[in-house]
C-alpha cells in the first residue's frame, strides 16, 4: 500500500523495494527497538513491581511505588520541580521572544550568524556551562568580589545554593531551545499580512497583537516544551547551582536509582516525567490540528 508511493517515485519492483527497506530501515529500526522502546517499556513495567534488596525488582505486581508518589514529601518534590521548570520557561519566553523578534528583523546575512551564535553555547558541555556560573556566583566569586569592591556589601551575598540560582541555570541552559522555534515561527510570517494591516491603518501595537502574536503562539509552545521538559527532569542544576538542598524529580530519580537503589520507586518517579511529556505533546498536537500547522 505504502510502497505505491515509492513505486511511482522510483519505478522499482516491489521485491527490490522490500529488500531496500530492510537494509535501510532494518539496522536503525532494530537498534531503536532494543535501546529505546524496550527501555521505555522497562521503566513503565518496573514502576509496578516490588523492589528487591539491592536494586532490581521482583514479582508480585504492586502499586505501592506509584502510590508513594502521593505522599506529602513526594507531592512537594513534584510541585517544586514543576514550579522551578515553569519559572524557567516563563523567563526563557520573556528573554527569548524579543530576541527572536530582533533576530528575524536583522539583515538576511546577519540572521544565520545570529542564530548560530544562539545555538553554539547549547552544543558545549552542560557541566562546564553550569560551572561557569559557579565561578561567577560563589561567595568568593567574581560578582561578590565586584560588589565588595564597590562597597555595596561587606559580607558575601548568597547568590547560589538557592532556588533562584536553579532557575537562572535552567534559563541559561535551555534559552537557545526557546529562541529557535520562536525564530522560525516569526520568520515564516507572511510580510504581506503586516503590510495589509498597516495599509488598513493598524498601529504597530495592533499589528503585533492581532498578527504576530497569534501566528507565533505555536512556536512559543514548542519552545516552552523544549525548555520545560528538560528543566523538569534535570538533576545537575539543582545539585551544582542549588547546592543539593532542593529535591526535584531529577534528583529524586537519581537518588532512588543510584543511592537508595529502590528501582521500582525510581521508575515511578521517572514515569511522572514521561506522563507529563506525553500530556504536553498530546495537548500540543491537538492545538496544532485545531489552528493549522504553523510550526
Amino acid at each position: 500500500m505504502k510502497s505505491s508511493h515509492g513505486h511511482s517515485r522510483g519505478g522499482r519492483t516491489r521485491r527490490a523495494n522490500l529488500g531496500e527497506r530492510l537494509v535501510l530501515l532494518g539496522p536503525g529500526g532494530l537498534y531503536l527497538a532494543a535501546f529505546f522502546v524496550v527501555p521505555l517499556v522497562l521503566v513503565v513495567g518496573y514502576a509496578f513491581l516490588t523492589p528487591s534488596r539491592f536494586g532490581g525488582a521482583t514479582a508480585p505486581v504492586s502499586f505501592d511505588s506509584i502510590s508513594r508518589l502521593a505522599e506529602p514529601v513526594y507531592r512537594r518534590v513534584i510541585a517544586t520541580s514543576v514550579v522551578l521548570a515553569l519559572a524557567a520557561t516563563v523567563f526563557a519566553l520573556l528573554i527569548g521572544y524579543p530576541a527572536a523578534l530582533a533576530i528575524a528583523r536583522l539583515p538576511r546575512r546577519w540572521r544565520t550568524i545570529a542564530l548560530v551564535a544562539v545555538v553554539l553555547p547549547f552544543w558545549t558541555n552542560f557541566l562546564i556551562r553550569m560551572y561557569a556560573w559557579i565561578v561567577l556566583l560563589n561567595n568568593e566569586g567574581l560578582i561578590n568580589r565586584i560588589l565588595r569592591g564597590l562597597s555595596v556589601t561587606d559580607e558575601p551575598i548568597a547568590l547560589m545554593n538557592n532556588r533562584p540560582a536553579i532557575v537562572l541555570g535552567l534559563v541559561y541552559a535551555y534559552l537557545p531551545l526557546m529562541i529557535l522555534p520562536l525564530y522560525s515561527a516569526i520568520e515564516r510570517l507572511d510580510p504581506q499580512l503586516g503590510e495589509a494591516a498597516t495599509n488598513l491603518g493598524a498601529s504597530a501595537v495592533t499589528r503585533f497583537r492581532t498578527i504576530t502574536l497569534p501566528l507565533t503562539t505555536q512556536g512559543a509552545l514548542t519552545g516552552a516544551l523544549f525548555v520545560f521538559v528538560p528543566s523538569l527532569a534535570n538533576f545537575i542544576v539543582p545539585e551544582l547551582l542549588g547546592g543539593g538542598k532542593t529535591a526535584t524529580i531529577g534528583t529524586l530519580a537519581r537518588d532512588q536509582y543510584l543511592e537508595t537503589r529502590n528501582w521500582p520507586f525510581g521508575s515511578s518517579v521517572t514515569l511522572v516525567v514521561l506522563v507529563i511529556v506525553g500530556l504536553i505533546v498530546a495537548a500540543q498536537s491537538r492545538f496544532a490540528r485545531r489552528y493549522g500547522a504553523n510550526a
Binding site: P27, P98, Y131, L136, T270, V273
Partner: protein, 261 residues
Amino acid sequence: MRGPVGAWGRVHLALTYAFLYLPILVLVGLSFNRSGLATTWGGFSTKWYGELRHNADIREGLRNTLIVAVGTTVLATILGTLLAVGIQRHVRNPVIEAVFVAPAVMPDIVLAVGLLLLYTLVDFTLGLTSVLLSHTLFCMAFVTAVVRTRLQHVDSSLEEAARDLGDTAVGVFVRITLPGLAPGIVAAALLSFTLSLDEFVIAFFTNGPTTPTLPQVIYSNVRFGVKPDINALASVLLLVSTVAVLTAQRFARFTDTIERQ
C-alpha cells in the same frame, strides 16, 4: 514587518548574547590566570594547561571519552544515514518518523534510567561499551535529522537516471546518493562526536565504576568548588565543541534541522 530592528530590540539582543557568552568568556579568561583564583589576577600564564597533562584522572577520562566518542560517531553515523535515506524513501507515517527522532528530544534521565534497567536485566557488564551503545542511540537520532535535511536538497533525478541506465541499487547508493549526502554526513558525524564527548547524565547511569568519562571526571571535581586546572580543561573542551559545531555548520546548515523540528 521587515523594517529595521528597533533600538530596544537591538539592546535586548545584545544583552541576550552577553548573558549567553559572558560566563563562558570569564571562565576562559580565568584559565589563563596565574594565581588560579577567580578574584585576583596574577598575570597571564598557561601553566594550568600544562598541569592538565600531569593529571592522571583527566588523562584517563580523556582516553575513555575518546574511545566512546569515536565508536559512537562511527556507529551512529552509519545507522543514522541509512535510516535517513530509508525514512525519506519509504516512511510516509509522521508518527513513525517522529519515533525515529524521539531519542534526541527525550529527557536524558529517562533514557539513562531505561538503559540501566535494560543492561541490568540482560546482565550486560556496565563499562565503556554500554556507554558507547547508549550514546549511539541519541546520536543516531541527531544524525537521522541532519542527514534528512540534506536529503531534501538533493536532486533525486540523478538517482533515477543512474537506475534507468542499469546501475544496481547498491551502485546507485554508493555512487550517487552517498556523495550527494556527504556534507550532511560529515556535519552529522561532527555533531555526534561533540554530543558524545560532552554527554554526562547517560554516562553517569550506564558506565561502570572503573572507567569514568571526562564529563564524569569534571562532575566529581566541580561539585567541590572552583579549581584552576578545571578552568583550563573546560576551555579546551569549549574550543573543541565550538570548532566542531562551526565546521558542521559550514558543511550543512544544520540550524535548519533544529528549526524544522
